[in-house]
């Protein structure tokens, strides 16, 4: 039997393989699995100061997507690095082994670290910490879809919590294209069936896009529409991030 060959791991998950039949996503009057409207984001919960050992940290929970980001530094760069008049940004995103429905699937997100770096570098004033490095480390505790945008937004909150100088807060939102519909802030199930996706990271007060990726086939008006939806959601998300920071600041100081 093929299943008994040496190549297969000695254990397997009893969860059934993802269903091959595509749900009826194409219809216009289809309802999202969690009952949201197409252009409605999941409720967001954000909190600073999740990790005491870090200079700044934040916890974000969007639906089932749960993320912690710690910021360390500015601190001494690694020895091998040459002198630099500007600061360095170092990003790392990792997954817990239980983040995905099947154990150990989180390793196929290697590109996320560099994506996070690209999304943040445009917003950070690196001149403000010459010769040193700021480390941004993210851990996805549980993956529930739209992981990267949540990590990016959470990282921006953690950077603010650490007092790293930024031009503006960074907010990130993605949309999935499912048949004729554009759905914002997709969950894992929607992401696995998507025809295309668009992710925007922006600095809402400056109206600047720091990162944009498009995947799958799109027409130009469609890209335009998706960008509009995302930018709108980004500015709302930025407000929530801001209010979260204000809350922390206005809380009775020691």
């Amino acid at each position: 039997m093929a299943g008994k060959s040496a190549a297969t791991p000695s254990t397997y998950s009893p969860s059934p393989a993802p269903k091959t039949k595509r749900p009826i996503f194409q219809d216009v009057d289809w309802v999202r699995p969690d009952g949201r409207g197409f252009h409605q984001c999941r409720p967001a919960f954000l909190k600073t100061g999740a990790v005491n050992a870090a200079s700044g940290s934040a916890y974000a929970e969007f639906g089932n997507t749960k993320v912690i980001v710690s910021v360390f530094g500015p601190r001494e760069s690694k020895k091998a690095m040459a002198y630099s008049g500007t600061g360095r940004l170092n990003c790392n995103v990792s997954y817990t082994t239980f983040a995905m429905p099947i154990r150990g699937q989180g390793s196929d997100h290697k590109g996320y670290s560099s994506m996070l770096h690209k999304a943040l570098e445009g917003a950070i004033i690196v001149e403000s910490f010459p010769k040193t490095t700021v480390d941004v480390f993210a851990l996805v505790l549980e993956s529930g879809g739209s992981d990267l945008p949540v990590v990016i937004s959470c990282a921006s909150l953690a950077l603010a919590d650490a007092g790293i100088m930024m031009y503006d807060l960074v907010a990130s939102v993605s949309v999935s294209c499912l048949g004729k519909n554009l759905v914002i802030d997709p969950i894992l199930e929607e992401e696995s069936y998507q025809d295309g996706s668009l992710l925007i990271t922006c600095m809402p007060s400056r109206n600047e896009v720091t990162q944009l990726t498009v995947n799958g086939e799109w027409s130009t008006p469609r890209v335009h529409e998706a960008m509009q939806i995302c930018l709108e959601a980004c500015s709302k998300l930025a407000k929530i991030i801001r209010s979260c920071l204000k809350e922390t600041a206005s809380a009775p100081k020691d």
């Binding site: 039997m1 299943g3 000695s10 254990t11 397997y12 998950s13 009893p14 969860s15 059934p16 409207g37 197409f38 252009h39 409605q40 984001c41 409720p43 967001a44 919960f45 909190k47 100061g49 999740a50 990790v51 005491n52 050992a53 870090a54 940290s57 916890y59 929970e61 089932n64 749960k66 912690i68 980001v69 710690s70 360390f72 601190r75 790392n92 990792s94 817990t96 082994t97 239980f98 983040a99 995905m100 429905p101 154990r103 480390d135 480390f137 993210a138 851990l139 505790l141 549980e142 993956s143 529930g144 959601a233 709302k236 998300l237 407000k239 929530i240 809380a251 009775p252 020691d254």
Partner: protein
């Protein structure tokens, strides 16, 4: 599209009434922190000044100390700073020597796992999750399952850990944890069997340290025990190919005639739960539940693990300059005994909280 015209509920705040282990945990934590901090600061000023006066009179560090600030003193002479507190039988965070930090526990923090728990001792935070997978049991023990325990210190938890370079404590704690959990006999491996000789459960227990502030083992063990008590084993059946698959709860009730293999065995019977307490031995003092700072200054650690009935499961004393006399070890065990009571009630409370929701 109607969702556009409505006053948008985009990013609406999550209502606090829903059960959310993280939410509860964070708000508690902040409250605790503020109380702790105000206490701590007032003490530090009083004690700190006293310390400095003594320092000057003792003329230990000469003219340097006369203008030294409390914080600088703490950084430059950490040992002396801490010893100054110990003289008054108190610690820099306002705890008496034998008291552990505030401990909280939340079950079911990770929905993608079969059982999970978040444990917090002071600032040290651990997230443990159990995932069940199926394996063919080895020939020597055809009716036993297995447990694999791994402890991780991701770079978020401490400034000392960098990506790509695993922390050196992690494998040590990992080994200690699996030794303790397996030798305590908490879990009967026979309960993890599905079909004798054919299929058995492999329980992957992964514990992530989210915030490292000392006593990592204690927090990790607490999280691990709690994750196992939260564990709900999925109902499974055998399919045509001889593989074990999950029986979905809602829809396929009617059409699947296959008998679930493990009906009524959804929860493990946990006997004699292990709990632990780490103490620092320094001179004649015994400090329970040290913080990371204390651990870095005073090196002799003793970890005592007792099970819920008070039996000694294991005792670690990994080196250190202070010799542990029988009396000191006895004291540690006594402290642990007290602590086990606390931890037991915290765990029971967390379980009952969970059941109410």
């Amino acid at each position: 599209m109607t969702s556009h015209s409505q006053p948008s509920v985009l990013w609406q705040r999550r209502s606090t009434r829903r059960y959310n282990p993280f939410l509860g945990f964070f708000s508690d934590y902040h409250l605790g922190l503020f109380v702790g901090l105000s206490l701590f600061y007032s003490l530090e000023v009083v004690l700190g000044n006293k310390t400095l006066k003594k320092m000057v009179s003792a003329n230990v560090s000469g003219d340097l100390s006369s203008e030294m600030e409390v914080d600088a003193f703490r950084r430059l002479f950490p040992l002396r700073y801490h010893e100054r507190f110990l003289l008054d039988s108190i610690r820099p965070d306002a705890r008496p020597l034998g008291r552990a930090r505030d401990t909280s526990l939340a079950l079911g923090a990770v929905a993608s796992a079969d059982g999970s728990a978040l444990a917090k001792i002071g600032c040290t935070t651990m997230l443990a999750a159990v995932k069940m997978e199926v394996m063919t049991p080895p020939k020597e023990s055809p009716d036993e399952g297995s447990i694999a325990i791994e402890f991780y210190m991701p770079p978020i938890c401490s400034p000392l850990v960098r990506p790509g370079r695993p922390a050196e404590e992690a494998p040590v704690v990992s080994k200690q944890l699996s030794d303790t959990i397996l030798s305590s006999g908490m879990i009967n491996l026979k309960e993890l069997s599905l079909v004798s000789g054919k299929a058995a459960w492999m329980a992957y227990l992964d514990i992530y340290c989210l915030d490292a502030d000392g006593s990592l083992f204690d927090a990790a063990l607490l999280a691990a025990v709690a994750a196992f008590s939260h564990l709900r084993i999925p109902v499974v059946s055998l399919n045509e190919e001889g593989r074990v698959v999950v029986v979905s709860e809602e829809n396929e009730e009617g059409k699947s005639e296959k008998e679930p293999v493990n009906k009524g065995k959804r929860k493990l019977t946990l006997s004699s739960l292990p709990f632990s307490l780490t103490c620092i031995l320094h001179k004649n003092y015994i400090l329970a539940d040290p913080t990371a700072e204390e651990e870095s200054i005073m090196e002799t650690l003793v970890t005592v693990v007792l099970d819920s009935s008070g039996q000694l499961v294991s005792l670690y004393k990994p080196g250190g300059p202070v010799l542990a006399y029988a009396s000191a070890v006895q004291d540690c065990i006594a402290l642990t005994r007290q602590r086990v009571k606390e931890l037991k009630s915290i765990l029971n409370e967390a379980i009952s909280d969970m059941e109410v929701d």
